[in-house]
Symmetry: C2
Subunit: 503 residues, 2 copies
């Protein structure tokens, strides 16, 4: 009988079970990493099957009655430590959520996602959103069902947002995006009235191997532990983790776009430093997991933008870069380089956008998702809405669907509610970094000497160590006693561009 067991015995059994599940999930991560890096082409079909089997096993283990009973019993015990209690609470939340989905629903979702993913691939090939419409509508129907199964207050989209960013709501996002829209647009117009920056120095020929070597060097200098991780090449850069001692990032190299490689390295390193810094003793438990997607993204963007596109950082590192690429950069001044890497230019493609215009891309997607999930529009209405708003916000005519509403993979995967976490990441990052260097000026001084350890220590202390202990909102209260405030992000942008575009 479970109820006859001591809390210690029971907690140990809980740990044993949840770690077994984590082992299976991490095996899945390894299979997916391999798929993106080294899988031979013919291996894809069996790999899909192997992945499906492991996913099913992980789900079965997690939703087993036995595991549920342990959680329920532990939840009623009063003699757990604070951390133990929190782990059990969170696992119980996850358990209750997972149990809301019948295995029929899970199966239907997985089939529908698979169908709609292939429809998206096809539609991209045809460059016609209409070929994706029918399957996307089918998937949307299921996502609405999912929202109702999960339950929500006020708006069904809240249920989906919660999956990526616990506590995030339409109300909060509406407020943030409304507040930011006008100042961002104003700043954008100001910049547009100034002479454009010449960033051709970044588009010279930079040989592959030298780019790779420089990337590896910078990653190491940021504090990435190569004994507990590695970098490889893949088509789309990503970070994955099998445990805090094995965190892997990828990059891609374009010999005529040096920036593409380097800032993807720094971005993914930001994710990876977070994963390497999660508490090892909590492996497999909620407190060994990241807070939320928004916080994860805040780490990548803090390093990529606040640090990696900052003057302070390049004050130190630009000499190294010039020494590595003398033919390309000996004649390019630090100021020219600094301007080039911070050029603002409206673009059709989200992943190529600068720090400012990026958020227009997200706002458009956010509005569309909200309208889709509440049922105000259907898949059929997406292209018109999309194209109209790209013109409105960015003054761009969308020439075709591939460069328009077919560009992102997210919807085809059923990831509705994901995009806002990208913007939240930037906003969180600016606030975090702004507070960190204000409270500890030594952090920025060290970066100017090529030493990012004080910053990393700050992040370890204020973020990494907590795992999923807090929601992002609670975490901000703990760190700075203040909720998310977009003034930090706006200040950060104004400061940067004032100098660059002489505003």
């Amino acid at each position: 009988m479970i109820s006859a067991k001591s809390s210690e015995e029971l907690y140990n059994e809980y740990k044993h079970q949840i770690r077994k599940i984590a082992d299976v999930k991490n095996a899945l991560n390894i299979l997916q990493w391999d798929q993106e890096t080294y899988l031979p082409s013919k291996g894809a079909s069996f790999r899909a099957q192997q992945t499906a089997t492991l996913s099913e096993l992980a789900h079965q283990l997690f939703t087993s009655e036995y595991f549920g009973n342990i959680l329920q019993e532990l939840n009623s015990r009063n003699n757990l430590s604070q951390k133990e209690k929190r782990n059990v609470e969170l696992s119980n939340e996850d358990y209750i959520k997972q149990k809301k989905f019948t295995s029929d629903f899970v199966k239907k979702m997985s089939e529908t996602v698979s169908k709609s993913f292939h429809a998206w691939i096809d539609a991209r090939r045809q460059n016609a959103f209409s070929a994706f419409e029918k399957d996307l509508n089918g998937l949307l129907q299921l996502k609405k069902e999912e929202a109702y199964l999960l339950g929500f207050e006020n708006h069904p989209y809240n249920a989906l947002l919660n999956e990526f960013e616990k506590g995030c709501t339409v109300k909060l996002l509406d407020k943030i995006f409304t507040e930011i829209l006008y100042p961002l647009k104003k700043l954008f117009d100001q910049i547009n009235s100034k002479p454009q920056i010449d960033d051709s120095c970044l588009h010279q020929y930079f040989p592959k191997q030298q780019q790779w070597d420089f990337g590896i060097k910078i990653i190491g200098q940021l504090g990435f532990d190569f004994k507990a991780g590695r970098q490889d090449i893949s088509e789309h850069p990503f970070t994955t983790s099998f445990n805090n001692n094995d965190v892997r990032i990828t990059t891609r190299i374009d010999e005529h776009n040096f920036a593409g490689m380097l800032w993807s390295c720094i971005h993914e390193s930001g994710h990876a430093l977070y994963e390497q810094g999660l508490p090892e003793t909590e492996y497999g438990l909620p407190l060994g997991e990241y807070t939320s997607l928004g916080i994860h993204e805040s780490q990548s963007r803090l390093w990529e933008n606040c640090v990696g596109r900052g003057k302070t950082f390049w004050n130190y590192h630009y000499k190294e870069l010039q020494d590595t690429f003398p033919d390309q950069l000996a004649e390019v001044s630090l100021q020219q380089f600094y301007k080039a890497i911070n050029k603002v230019e409206p673009s059709l493609i989200r992943t190529e956008a600068d720090e400012l215009t990026y958020h227009f891309h997200v706002m458009i997607r956010y509005e569309i998702e909200k309208l889709l999930i509440e049922g105000t529009i259907g898949a059929h209405d997406i292209p018109a809405y999309w194209n109209e708003h790209y013109e409105k916000y960015l003054d761009l005519k969308v020439p075709d669907d591939k460069r328009g509403c077919l560009q992102d993979i997210h919807w085809s995967h059923g990831s509705f509610g994901y995009f806002p976490t990208y913007s939240l990441g930037s906003f969180y990052a600016a606030q975090l970094y702004g507070k960190a260097i204000k409270q500890n000026p030594a952090i920025e001084q060290a970066i100017g000497k090529g030493d990012t350890n004080p910053l990393l220590d700050y992040l370890r202390k204020h973020i990494f160590q907590y795992g999923r202990m807090y929601t992002s909102e609670e975490l901000f209260a703990v760190i700075g006693g203040e909720p998310l405030d977009i003034k930090y992000f706006l200040e950060y942008l104004f400061d940067k561009y004032k100098n660059i575009y002489i505003l």
Copy 2:
């Protein structure tokens, strides 16, 4: 009720279940491949745990009552096709075997193996077999238990041999090794009386990248499908397969030992061609698996030795090799090269042995294993027996345990009964290849023109397509109507060395 289901429904459910198990096992293979190729050093401890979890899951799925009931019911049905019947029979055999081990026994074995593996590592570090003795004795005790659990006729070692080579017995091996010992020793003595071959041409400086490129080229020419597999670098070369469309080999490169790289590539390609050639439609089922370890090894050795150390092969390829390494080989004649790659020289280390002396290494290990399992000797007696027989067969004094009885990993892993399959592999290979080129002279003619397709087709037709349909003995009866006969191997060796050493 299972008994109410049609045979077709039941067979489909059997396939579904066994493929799920195969998916988990193949995920394990991926984790192990990654461990040997790309795992960052700190990742090892969690990887061990993740591997243990997946192993346990695979074992639980395979030995579940549900799966057992399906097998039992299917076994009683008369309306299965011949292939279906054979799959069910073999799975049932495997199931009955696995069920003989209680989970306590499995756990104890896994712990004991882990302990004894670490003791072996330690003992190697100390260069003292005595540090391995105690744990090896503990493991031996369990292996004897295993033999009794499995059941056997005549000799407990037969039970262990069967795990690697179904149908193989002490009686058979005693006969083979007795028959071969004298002629082999005589040939060895004859060769020793002749002037030794100069193989210094193989120990010049061969740059890493050029070696790699040449290896990849040869592997492709042998028929390895790089869309269904890949090669990477690891400390010890190996082959692993996740399904016939994803077969991976590894090699290592020593810039002063060209042969080490090239023949490891060819050897592993032999294994890989077999795995790539197994019937895809039988994925996860016994008929999609290899016949036995001996047959697997016959494939690697057939390509490595019969083909890859043959004059015919190099008649065509030597020009390519000279063109790749003109500084090293332009002045080395084909005959000199051919002699160098077939030099016979007694050595202390099994994995470095030539085609002839290799079998003395195996015979010594075989005798020791037999005596250990029957209880005639204990771990304590190994070094004396080892050293005495290295002197007797190879006229070598073993200077220390690291270059003696501590050199192989096998015993520390509990793999007793594995070594004989290496020799069987060579004997099978010679017989197979001898028959193939006699029946189809076009096979050898094609090899002389750089075309190994006719050979590969022969192997596909006579070996690959059958999977585990037959035991190795039955397979030989099907192919050539004749059981294993070491005269083929002896003829093959005499033919080769007669020419090389002018006997």
